[in-house]
């Protein structure tokens, strides 16, 4: 029997530096990563009218919110504070024909926001946020009453969510501003 003299060298690659390489890459990606702000307020603009008269809207179904360049608010020609807007909008939408001054049903209610050309953007966003908040609270209340779960926990695109959305459709109109 022949005795093998040389010990066979192991064919493995040394793996101890693998961790170092991985760490280096990890640190690179950690530094480069920017977690992007991809959140915001969604809205659908109205299409350009093709010379068709818009359907008449009864005055009680329209809530006019006017904001000037200093952040002062008029609701249906009455001055109001920005903090009270949410409650006013909720009352207006959820009236269901009780008060003859307010909307006939949530489906008919239209909230119109109008600003000056010189209104700062963040005041406009605050305003829009309040109106969105009012809709969100109404939807939340309806969802709790009907299904016993908060609206935010209903799955995107589910039947239940669509049902609540249909109960309180967001009808927000952004009017063209006056020259100011």
């Amino acid at each position: 029997m022949l005795n093998r003299k040389r010990k066979r060298e192991s064919g493995d690659i040394d793996g101890s530096s693998l961790a170092d390489i991985a760490f280096l890459l990890l640190i690179f990606f950690l530094v480069v990563t920017t977690i992007d702000v991809d959140t915001g307020i969604g809205l659908v603009l109205p299409p350009i009218p093709d010379d068709i008269e818009p359907p008449p809207v009864r005055e009680r179904n329209l809530m006019n919110i006017l904001v000037n360049e200093r952040g002062m608010v008029l609701i249906n020609e009455q001055p109001a504070a920005i903090a009270t807007v949410r409650e006013r909008v909720k009352e207006f939408i959820d009236n269901n024909g009780v008060d003859p001054e307010l909307s006939e049903s949530p489906d008919d209610a239209i909230v119109s926001i109008k600003t000056d050309r010189r209104t700062p953007y963040n005041i406009y966003i605050d305003m829009l946020d309040e109106v969105m908040g009012a809709y969100e609270e109404l939807r939340h209340a309806a969802s709790m009453e009907r299904f016993g779960v908060p609206f935010s926990s209903l799955e995107q695109g589910s039947e239940r969510r669509a049902e609540i959305q249909e109960m309180y459709p967001k009808k927000i109109s952004i009017a063209e501003p006056d020259e100011g």
Partner: protein, 148 residues
């Protein structure tokens, strides 16, 4: 020699590190997947507005961005409010409708995300929105940060 030898545990000391590369790789892959390399060079200064009732944009592929804010000049100075789409500042507001129309043809379910500086005047945004209406890109989103 003492009769009472101290009993010692037979286990080895030290944490086994053989699984460390796996852990690190897992983290690495997570960050590689979530990383968005900034694809446009911002030429306008944007300080986002803050809002409470915001939603996430789920499908990033559908989104196209329009940046509105004061132009960045050299030395940290800021100029007039300008509109930037992709890599270029837009000189003529009326050109937006063509740019956006082309984008809409490529992606029919386009969402336009408006990234606007909080101190911009609303007049500019209205002009842009009118252009978007002309182009037919009606789904928009005002980028805002969550209120903390």
């Amino acid at each position: 020699m003492s009769k009472f030898k101290k009993k010692q545990a037979n286990t080895k000391q030290g944490v086994p590190t053989s699984a460390m590369p796996d852990v690190v790789f897992m983290l690495l892959i997570f960050f590689m997947v979530t990383t968005v390399l900034r694809e446009v060079e911002l030429q306008v200064q944007i300080d986002y507005a803050v809002a409470e009732n915001i939603e996430k944009i789920e499908q990033k592929r559908l989104v196209s961005y329009i940046y509105i804010g004061p132009e960045r000049l050299g030395g940290g100075r800021l100029g007039e409010t300008r509109v930037q789409i992709d890599d270029a500042l837009v000189d003529d507001i009326n050109a937006i409708r063509n740019i956006m129309y082309d984008k809409l043809m490529e992606q029919p379910r386009l969402i336009v995300s408006l990234r606007v500086d909080r101190d911009s005047e609303f007049g500019v945004i209205t002009d842009v929105q009118q252009e978007l209406r002309q182009a037919g890109t009606l789904r928009i989103n005002y980028s805002t940060r969550r209120q903390i």
